[in-house]
């Protein structure tokens, strides 16, 4: 459906900063792909390139096999939902949704019917005559979605679709969006910096860093086996340290860590998921002091400083009743199942 072939964009001339650096990406029909990355990683530029709003300095964008070089934005047949929605303030809700239909010369009666159907679909029936300024953030987001869907784009792109909404609304809308896209069979390319959003929304997650693709895979893949220390840290895993793997153990500042069979050998970063950091008596493992504990609802995150002050801190996930107090001295052992040798 969508194919990016070695696409590069540089800001400020050919010698300038690379916003996209040789990006290769495929999105299949009916697939929802979520590009995940910190701000400045080039993910918004990626969407603008596909939309035709940003010229490339190299590579090709193909839609349904056809090269889009030289095709202007309004002839590409893709939809883009902007980060802050960009609803037209001087038009009401209905006119916003109908805009794309008017541009495609859809007959008036059909426009009206479609606007009504779309507003119903996004849960705002009868809102057509309302002013854009009177909408709440969540309602604006729904109108923007209806507007983007109205001309039936072959590919729908979402830029930080839920970025400005509060947490509970976000969680509800993620579920709604996922159901909606499955129902409509829409092909979706979304970008976000929020991993929760990406994992909840996507069939496939693409992690970007400095204009390059750092990892691509199903949410489960990426979560379980981050490709490198950057991806691991970006996903919120802080227990990462360099180590030397030989056989079934890795030598690190935290001592010898058991690694799963078949792990790559030699010098690698090693990740220990918090669940794999188990607390025992101080003399039975790596001696640590508890520096802080934060309540996380289902568990308590315990922050530990190893005796060796130069060693990085560890985070452990403890059951509520087992969590030690701040200042306690504990020992740490590692569970092989939650140790990952990174690439």
């Amino acid at each position: 459906m969508l194919r990016l072939d070695d696409v590069s964009v540089r800001f400020g001339g050919p010698a300038g900063q690379a916003a996209l650096d040789g990006v290769e990406l495929d999105v299949a029909e009916h697939e929802t792909v979520c590009v995940l990355g910190p701000s400045g990683s080039g993910k918004s530029t990626l969407l603008r390139v596909v939309a035709g709003l940003q010229t490339t300095d190299g590579g090709h964008v193909l839609l349904e096999g056809r090269d889009q070089g030289g095709v202007p934005a309004h002839k590409r047949g893709v939809g883009l939902m902007f980060q802050d929605h960009q609803l037209f303030p001087q038009r009401d809700v209905g006119a916003n949704v109908a805009f794309g239909l008017r541009m495609h010369h859809v007959p008036r009666a059909e426009q009206d019917a479609r606007v009504r159907a779309l507003l119903e679909l996004v849960g705002l029936p009868g809102a057509a005559r309302r002013a854009v300024a009177s909408l709440s953030g969540g309602e604006q987001q729904r109108v923007a979605l209806a507007r983007a869907l109205a001309p039936r784009p072959r590919l729908l792109m979402l830029d930080e679709p839920l970025g400005q909404l509060d947490r509970s609304l976000r969680e509800r809308l993620v579920v709604e969006l996922r159901e909606l896209f499955r129902e409509l069979g829409t092909t979706v390319l979304a970008v976000t910096h929020d991993q929760g959003e990406a994992f909840a929304l996507a069939d496939r997650v693409v992690v970007m860093r400095d204009g390059r693709i750092a990892q691509s895979g199903t949410p489960l893949d990426v979560w379980q086996r981050p490709a490198d220390a950057f991806v691991a840290r970006f996903l919120g895993f802080d227990n990462v340290t360099p180590g030397t793997v030989s056989g079934e153990a890795a030598d690190t500042v935290w001592g010898k860590l058991p690694v799963p069979p078949g792990s790559p050998q030699g010098s690698h970063d090693v990740l220990v998921r918090p669940a794999g950091v188990q607390l025992v008596a101080a003399r039975d493992g790596l001696a640590c002091t508890v520096t802080a504990r934060t309540f996380r609802g289902t568990h308590v995150a315990v922050h530990l400083q190893p005796e060796d002050a130069s060693a990085p801190r560890l985070e452990a996930a403890c059951a509520l009743r087992d969590a030690p107090e701040s200042g306690d001295r504990v020992g740490v052992v590692f569970d092989m199942a939650d140790v990952v040798v990174l690439g």
């Binding site: 934005a73 309004h74 939809g79 902007f82 960009q86 303030p89 001087q90 805009f99 794309g100 541009m103």
Partner: protein, 538 residues
């Protein structure tokens, strides 16, 4: 609010009303109103021709200005290119130039013995084109600043959103940007119409028989024919027309306040991409070059170009009184002008500042009316105001005829609207919560004003002062009546020199105009450095 109202009542409404009354009241018939004169004057074919010419040249000037300046507004709003700041200042220079200088510059370019005449034998001073071009030159900045200022703050992603929904580049502009810009374009067009409808200095110099605007005719009737009744009728006609234009303007300004998505102007401009955008930039630069820079350059060239090669002869000549045009050496006009303009600026700042503060505090129909009234001096015949000063401020308790303050008072009248328009948006933008925050932290009301309001308003105050200074410096219509022969201002001296025959007088007029232009340009370039981020309301 009391002081500004009193100021306008005494120095604007009273003189204008008095002169109208004198023209229309028959003293022999015991002071009854002669409404019949109204019909007599308005049915006079000569006057009808003046009315017709005034209207159509104003419309044509407005249309031509929009046509040439709108691409400029786009380029200044959306493109980033080296020298943009300087160029923005340069295109604003004509706006603060005295109309007399503008007329002189175009005379030197298009008139008899002008540059085009010498090169190709082309003379436009006998056609209406000289007037139209001079009006475009003069008002280019009004459109670029008013429309471009808003354009730069429109989020470019609004157009992109339309493009994503299938709108072509042009459709996106027409459907999304144009509606948002509409009120600003209308406001700019109305201001240009107002300025060109009441045009005096430019037409006085470039016009001729058949090319007479209302304002020039008022001057002729008053000063040359002493036909006060005709002048009074014409003043009323102009007053009505200007009032109508200002009413529409006030309405569009209010509409402009409708909800628009505005973003930081600094982030919307980028380098031109592709041949089409570079061509547009080139075209606009060429238009600026031909329309703004060439006339200014010609003026300077003429002032340095006596019959035998280049030199500063004309400038030297300004220092002697022998030419006989004045009682004093023309160069003294520079000192007079500066003194008058400084005094006028001070008056305009006090009156305008108080008016703006009052307009910020209160709301309601009455205040909005006052807001529109403040603009009236821009449109009401300056000639009438000047002559009105002469006949009303000559008896106790306001016997100012012999006082030098008369000139600054008249000039301040034109400066006040600029001060109000510059200060108002900034004062309105001071968030009330900032004042509350300062108060909660222990600041007294006076300290709140000093610590919160003043720092935010200071830049606007400087800009307002600069504008008031420049327009005071260039004020001509009223000053020509009330400046004393031994104390001429620069524009008056230029006009006097131009009205006399002889190459020396012509050259001195060019030299004085150049001096005036330099003073105005210097004050403007200073302003550009302290420009406020907000768009003015022009």
């Amino acid at each position: 609010m009391a002081l500004p109202v009193a100021f306008f009542a005494v120095f604007f409404a009273y003189p204008v009303a008095a002169i109208v009354a004198r023209g229309l009241k028959d003293r022999r018939a015991g002071g009854s109103w002669q409404i019949g004169r109204l019909r007599d004057v308005l049915t006079d074919p000569d006057i009808q021709h003046v009315l017709w010419f005034t209207s159509w040249q104003a419309l044509a000037s407005t249309g031509l200005t929009l046509l040439i300046a709108l691409p400029g507004a786009y380029v200044f709003a959306r493109f980033d290119f080296p020298g943009k700041q300087l160029l923005r200042a340069v295109v604003t220079v004509p706006f603060v130039l005295p109309t007399v200088v503008v007329g002189t510059a175009f005379l030197a370019l298009l008139g008899r013995g002008g540059v085009l005449d010498e090169l190709w034998g082309l003379r436009l001073d006998t056609s209406v084109w000289a007037i139209l071009l001079a009006h475009v030159f003069f008002n280019y900045a009004v459109v670029v600043r008013t429309v471009g200022g808003l354009w730069a703050q429109l989020d470019p992603r609004q157009e992109e959103a339309a493009r994503m929904l299938g709108a072509s580049r042009f459709a996106a502009w027409r459907q999304v940007t144009l509606p948002a810009l509409g009120p600003a374009v209308a406001a700019a067009a109305l201001m240009v119409f107002l300025f060109t409808f009441t045009s005096f200095g430019v037409v006085q110099i470039l016009g001729g028989p058949g090319f007479t605007t209302l304002e020039v005719e008022i001057y002729r009737q008053t000063a040359q024919l002493l036909a006060l009744d005709t002048a009074a009728v014409l003043t009323l006609v102009q007053f009505a027309a200007v009032g109508a234009v200002l009413a529409v303007h006030a309405w569009t300004v209010r509409r402009r306040e409708s909800a628009l998505k505005l973003v930081d102007a600094a982030q919307t401009a980028r380098r031109p991409q592709g041949p089409a955008q570079w061509a547009l930039l080139g075209g606009v630069l060429l238009a600026v070059l031909l329309l703004v820079l060439v006339p200014l350059a010609v003026l300077v060239e003429r002032s340095l170009h006596p019959s035998d090669g280049y030199g500063f002869d004309y400038f030297r000549e300004l220092g002697s009184a022998e030419g006989g045009a004045f009682l004093v050496p023309p160069v003294e006009a520079v000192g007079n002008s500066l003194e008058y303009a400084l005094a006028a600026t001070a008056i305009a700042l006090v009156i305008g500042g108080l008016a703006a503060a009052a307009l910020t505090r209160r709301a309601g129909r009455l205040v909005r009316g006052f807001d529109a009234l403040l603009m009236l001096p821009l449109g009401v015949s300056a000639v009438t105001v000047g002559f009105g000063f002469l006949i009303t401020l000559d008896e106790p308790p306001l016997d100012l005829r012999a006082s030098w303050i008369l000139v600054p008072l008249a000039q301040a009248l034109v400066g006040v609207p600029f001060v109000v328009r510059t200060m108002l948006p900034v004062l309105r933008a001071v968030d009330e919560r900032l004042r509350e925050a300062a108060a909660v932290l222990g600041a007294s009301p006076w300290r709140v004003w000093r610590e919160v309001d003043l720092p935010m308003v200071r830049r606007a105050l400087l800009v307002a002062a600069g504008f008031a200074f420049a327009v005071s410096l260039g004020e001509f219509g009223a000053t020509v009546f009330i400046a004393r022969p031994d104390q001429p201002t620069l524009p008056v001296a230029v006009a006097t020199l131009l009205s006399r025959a002889g190459e020396l007088n012509y050259g001195q007029a060019m030299a004085l105009s150049t001096l005036l232009m330099l003073v105005c340009a210097a004050s403007l370039l200073l302003l550009e450095r302290i420009r406020t981020d907000r768009t003015g309301e022009f």
